[in-house]
Assembly symmetry: C2
Homo-oligomer: 104 residues x 2
Amino acid sequence: MIKVSVMYPNAPGARFNHEYYRDKHMPLVKSRMGASCKYYTVDKGLAGGAPGAPAPYAAMCHIYCDSIEAFQGGFGPHAKEIMGDIPNYTDQSPVVQISEVVVG
Amino acid sequence: MIKVSVMYPNAPGARFNHEYYRDKHMPLVKSRMGASCKYYTVDKGLAGGAPGAPAPYAAMCHIYCDSIEAFQGGFGPHAKEIMGDIPNYTDQSPVVQISEVVVG
């Protein structure tokens, strides 16, 4: 299994609407990707590792798929719509990582 | 629930022993943290978001705990031993984030 992690930098002054992200954007992603998205998780950044340090990322999601091809097949046809929704909850450009799930 | 994400930058030339991380380091973390670590996951970076882009992180782990206090209580007493094991699998300093699990 693979996961696609989408991580929104917690830049100074960054805008991020966690409610919209949880209630609107991620359900949109799931509805468009259908079964190619097995499930997803959502994180809200609280803190960094050092005392008093801010979270590096304001929020993250992790989308779990059987393979990179399954992700591309499910996401690709809807990429324009999904990415067009990003300004509705943030002014940040996400960092994206595709990972193999070694321990799930 | 919270998760502590430990993310190792995939710097050019970075060293990362994924087998040691999976088979030795993360079991060490779990054994020392005991029940304060409810469970953990491990990712191996495959790719970035853009075609041909490298993964931003060589590897990540996510440690799930009931609260920040539970993490600190379980990890703190063993931090020196656990962090002292890092050079055995990488030459990178991890980026650490504590997140609230919004959708788990």
